[in-house]
């Protein structure tokens, strides 16, 4: 296991909340994670949990009035991201760390050809001639499975289907061979048959380039297809983390358990789905203590007041839950 490529420690991103604008509420609250080269870490959660904000924070793309609180630490390739000068950060974006988004239509400039945009991406980070850049673009298009690659260079985004646009996005981001790819819901807007192809493509490219991927998604099926390790987020905090088989196979945190049980599966047909009661608390009115306390089926005394510590279930498997902590204390031995 090589040293992690990306380390995030105690990342907190805050936004102004409340009437006076002086109070700030954390959208991302003390997140820590790490990704090693060649590995896929999936950051899973429902809408509003802060996962997209985490990605933006890593790339330092948080716009005012949001800000990354001091005390956060992001280290990429032994460099402290938060201390980098703006010009160096800009050079890093796209080259060291690349990001693909959910909506390929709004990530591509509608008034320029896709070939133009990809060659621009190349020439932004490397000194190559226009012809050489075009060649590389054509090769990359071929690699990501775009039919008639040379011809497609002249196409405008609106002339391509959703799946093709996402492939163009991937080509654009990977043509400079970044070490880390952040994929924010890359397949959510795509049809299921296309989604499968894109996920397979990402897997191939990852193996080929030895890239690390931080995959942000709400879909556990996508997690199962692509991820090596998983971190489940709820209301700005990480509820549970572990390997894919640990989190999907033996989920310990009540939120993870609830989520997995609400997913309708092809094998269990016509059954009532287990529900998680209530709704996600809105930003600014988060409860003190465990944020899941208002909806948790196993809630008991300490949940309301204290923030749960992360309980170590195995070398890779952690869950932040008072109930688990207590069960282990009373059992005295690691329980499963």
């Amino acid at each position: 296991m090589s040293a992690p490529l990306l380390t995030v420690e105690d990342l907190t991103v805050s936004f102004p909340a409340g009437r006076d604008g002086n109070a700030r509420a954390p959208v991302v609250d003390g997140i820590s994670l790490d990704v090693s080269p060649g590995e896929v870490l999936a950051l899973v959660g429902e809408s509003g949990c802060g996962k997209s904000m985490t990605a933006l924070a890593i790339l330092r793309l948080i716009a005012k009035p949001g800000r990354i609180e001091p005390g956060s630490r992001i280290v990429f390739d032994d460099r402290d991201i938060l201390a980098l000068k703006v010009t160096r950060m800009r050079a890093l974006r796209g080259a060291g760390i690349a990001m693909i988004f959910q909506e390929p239509m709004s990530s591509l400039n509608p008034v320029r050809t896709v070939g133009n945009q990809v060659t621009e991406a190349i020439r932004l980070h490397e000194r190559v001639s226009a012809a050489a850049a075009r060649d590389r673009a054509t090769q990359m298009f071929k690699r990501v499975g775009i039919p008639d690659p040379a011809g497609r260079l002249a196409a405008y985004p609106h002339q391509l289907s959703g799946g093709l646009r996402q492939r163009v996005m991937i080509a654009m981001m990977l043509v400079v061979q970044p070490r880390l790819l952040i994929a924010d819901e890359p397949t959510t807007a795509l049809d299921v048959t296309v989604q499968a192809q894109i996920l397979a493509l990402l897997r191939e490219l990852k193996d080929e380039l030895g890239m690390a991927i931080l995959l942000i998604t709400h879909d556990f099926g996508v997690v199962n297809e692509l991820a090596d390790r998983v971190a489940v987020m709820y209301a700005g905090r990480i509820a549970e983390r572990g390997t894919r088989s640990e989190v999907l196979g033996r989920p310990m945190h009540p939120y993870t358990q609830g989520l997995l049980r609400s997913i309708p599966r092809l094998s269990h047909r016509g059954e009532a789905l287990a529900e998680i009661e209530g709704v996600v608390p809105s930003l600014g009115s988060w409860p003190t203590g465990c944020r899941f306390a208002t909806r948790c089926p196993k809630v008991f005394e300490p949940c309301d007041g204290t923030v749960p510590e992360s309980v170590v279930l195995s070398a890779s498997h952690h869950a932040a839950c008072h109930e688990i902590a207590q069960r282990r204390r009373t059992a005295g031995t690691p329980s499963k």
Partner: protein, 341 residues
Amino acid sequence: MSATASSADGANQNADPLLKIDGLKTWYPVRGGVLQRVRRWVRAVDGVDLEICRGQTLALVGESGCGKTTVGRSVLKLEQPRQGRILFEGTDILSLSRRAMRRYRRSIQIVFQDPNASLDPRMTVRDAVAEGLNAFRIGRTAADRTRRVGELMEMVRLDPDHMWRYPHEFSGGQKQRICIARALAVEPELLICDESVSALDVSIQAQILNLLRALQTELGLTYLFITHDLGVVGNIADQVAVMYLGQIVETGTIAQIFDAPQHPYTQALLASVPRVELDLGPPAARAIGDAPDPSDPPPGCRFHPRCPKVFEPCAVSEPNMVDISGRPCRCFLYDPAHASR
């Protein structure tokens, strides 16, 4: 050859289906040129046959551009079909005048995909839910109607005291419940759910699916459930019809479609669904490439450029529905007229 979606054990509960769609074609014109002449037609729905029996749930599955939403809208006459019949309780509603159609509007209602756009931001929830009551003059006084709104809100598990609030004060899942209440206000028999849970988070989706299932039992509703999510289909539907580029390619019960899919597209669809179970075998044959533009479908069988089992007749002519083991499938592989594998 119509596709019959009857109950699983083979015996119809009612002699006639509640909704029968016969040869439906809804095309959109693409205009161009100086005089805005019609250049091409987008054949969104190109010859669809469906039947739903009372109390059943038929899922209409397909990916974007297949025309399933257009089918739903055509049933409500929100789109004007150019050909075909839509028989509701035996009456062809497409042939009805606007006035005659009004009576049927009570019987068929719809819940849309986007809960944010489904509610008028400037109307209180009470007025939104009561809209149907007002249109059909249900309830004698405003107070009557307010009481009925309260009952409906309880039915969808919302607090009736909140009826004086505005839509933006509710979450996505709650807004969707309000839309369901609005549709149920006029006591419909058929409810069309057009991707009604697709825009919701998984845990909220589970709540709404459970609610829809409970309401079906309570009120004896019939559902036409339009979706692209096979997991949802498995959870709520009795019958399934698979659509591709304007045509139905296969129909059957849940067990038939999920365990023994016949059409290569159905098989590809099932193989592409990301599963959550850990013990996965290698994926079955998947589709290649992207769905073509609905205004320019490929010649012959519409799926053939992406089909892993394509062979000679596929590019030449369009396959008709063929009956295999009691259910229809639109594929040359099963057509005895063509040399099959």
